[in-house]
Subunit: 396 residues, 2 copies
């Protein structure tokens, strides 16, 4: 047994971590746009990255380190993705990180992480110039989590303390950014997780991937996969405490909360929707169906209009390529059944009840396929005018 | 050799076909909403239908006829899809068509085709009542092509005369509706093609499928597949003329024109975009990539904003799951190269040139993958505020 308590401090809640966010002049209006995470001892590090074939220069750079390297520094910038920038992009990462190391003693194997516009070379002079504002003794996680945002409307940060049976305890904290280009095979986002748990290196990747499956890999904003998606886990082992089951529980809790925040903050999103699919042939078919629902433009726009258009839900299930049968299907908005095994329950009263559910900030749509035992829940948001506005104007 | 001339008359340009559109009170404001196609002799018929597992009642009804059945009547209604309506939906088709046969002598094996809202039982009394307005001697293809529209902004109709070498000739005509729910594996639409060519029954399905590949199956508006997609080909052989190559050429021309019309008329679309992918590992990978581009929300919104955001194009290619290499890739807006084999050509001048291209009504985006010889062109449109408006409000 173990207990988990929410605590303040985000990524610097675990002992030995420091961070801040500064302005390098990349965002308009002198907004914060460069952040760092510094650890006062070397950390084990694991990453999960985008499946996009054109992954960004900082990811290529990360992968050029020897397997099992340790680090004590992550540099993050917004407004420029440093993707599709060729060798020059990779050289720029090296140059920027080289400057960093020459300015601050003791930085080893620094990692860079970028988000923003694709296909523009890194504004490295501005980033390097911002190093003069770095104070490695800061623990300002609000600034850091603000600096990494692009079109996000709010900061996304979380931390927990986990107390084990023997009263030993460890902490885990995280921050992330999301908003646009959120897609199911690792949502387009940057997520940084720190912990002072004494995680064995061999557990790190396995638990990260396991936790990602039901969290970041279950969400969708627009179905696009970015070149920069990254989840980084840094562990300094300072607490001396660890228990696999407790750590996985806390890691999933951290990642679930941030994944929900990202979905809720989908560009222009007004509601967070869980698409629960049960009774599929197997879990994989349930996942395929749930993700198709969370990505359907016709479903997303109907949700935006608070229109309980269950026909679009059914049509999307039918088009998703999975095994299904309209005589076994059931569809629920919240707990309101609108279609059950071939019979339509959609009189004025039920329609109104369903429409009321859709007016809520967050709700569940359940589809019972009645075929076998496969289940999956995908998370999505509605799509409205704001999404178009943000994405038609993003570069200009 | 053969010659092909555009002619007037749409689906009633071929001899022996009649049609009209009437108002049954399904659309607001007494708009036309029920259409018929009548042939004065029995026709061979072939259909290509949606892959959606929950295909609509009229499609199930069509498939209940014996193989190689002949028909002389198609009844079409807008505003109600008669999909997800169970056995009652199928019984309603039979009842409506039975009423039709008892009112008009000589109608054999009538076909029904529906488009509109899913999951609501057919307003059969209204449809049956509208039969009193049917005059089977009418050749009013404007009324018919107007009656089948839902959110379309304009009628889609076309006809050609094909003159063969021996001066024999035949005609082919068509009408269709499209707009929302347009997706690549048979765009969500209804398309009706008539011909007096003496097509052997054995050629009909093969040529229909072949023509669909580069036309209706290459377009995308929103990536959703409807429950009602149908292409019907009716052939009465009255001209006595036929040549396989000439017929396929004309059929592809008819279907290409209508597919482009559907894409151009995508809900709220302001431009028609051809996504040409060359140099892929094979044609299938080129198709996968081209369709991913035509369906990417981030690409579609950038096009709406006339933003030559080539980074999103590249990112979508990288995420499409095909074999590609950023050092071999080239990207063009019209004839403006913005990225070539790792080098970015995106100074102010080129950016402005590219933005000018995007302001046109229709243009091409070319992606040279430089891997092998696979090619495919997909067609899509931009996505703007109107799409959201139409689809958030469709039912209400």
């Amino acid at each position: 047994m173990f207990s988990v308590f929410p605590i303040d401090g985000g990524i610097v809640a675990p002992q030995g971590f420091y961070c801040d966010g500064v302005s390098a002049g990349l965002k308009k209006d002198c907004g914060l746009d460069v952040a760092f995470i510094y650890a006062d001892s070397l950390c084990e590090v694991e990453g999960v990255f985008t499946q996009n074939k054109f992954c960004a220069a900082p990811i290529v750079h990360f992968q050029s380190y020897p397997k099992d390297f340790k680090t004590n520094f992550v540099l993050i910038n917004a407004k420029n993705a440093n993707a599709l920038t060729g060798n020059e992009g990779i050289e720029n990462v090296k140059e920027v990180l080289g400057e960093l190391q020459s300015r601050f003693n003791g930085i080893q194997n620094p990692i860079m992480s970028s988000t923003g516009v694709i296909g523009v070379q890194l504004p490295k002079e501005k980033i390097v110039a911002s190093f003069s504002k770095f104070d490695l003794s800061q623990k300002n996680h609000k600034n850091a989590s603000n600096a990494i945002l692009t079109t996000d409307r709010f900061e996304k940060t979380i931390a927990f303390e986990v107390v084990l049976d023997d009263k030993a305890s460890f902490k885990i904290g995280a921050m992330c950014k999301g908003a646009g280009m959120i897609n199911p095979s690792l949502a387009t986002m940057l997520c940084f997780i720190t912990t002072d748990a004494d995680v064995p290196k061999s557990d790190m990747k396995e638990l990260l991937l396991k936790a990602a499956d039901s969290t970041f890999n279950a969400i969708s904003v627009d179905g696009d996969t970015s070149t920069n998606d990254s989840i980084l886990l840094l562990s300094n082992g300072k607490s001396g405490a660890y228990e696999r089951e407790a750590f996985l529980f806390a890691l999933e809790k951290v990642m679930h909360k941030l994944a929900m925040d990202i979905t809720r903050d989908g560009e222009g999103a007004t509601k967070l929707v869980a698409f629960e699919v049960n009774g599929a042939k197997d879990d994989l078919e349930a996942q395929k169906c749930a993700k198709a629902l969370s990505q359907s433009l016709l479903v997303k726009t109907a949700l935006f209009g608070c229109d309980p258009n269950w026909g679009r839900i059914a049509s999307t299930i039918g088009a998703s390529g999975i095994f299904c049968d309209s005589k076994k299907l059931e569809i629920y908005f919240g707990d309101v059944c609108v279609y059950k095994k071939g019979v339509i329950y959609f009189d004025k009263e039920n329609e109104q009840k369903a429409a009321e559910i859709l007016k809520q900030d967050s709700f569940k749509i359940t589809c019972e396929l009645g075929v076998a035992e496969g289940s999956f829940t995908a998370y999505g948001c509605d799509l409205g005018y704001e999404y178009v506005k943000i994405n038609a104007d993003y570069r200009t």
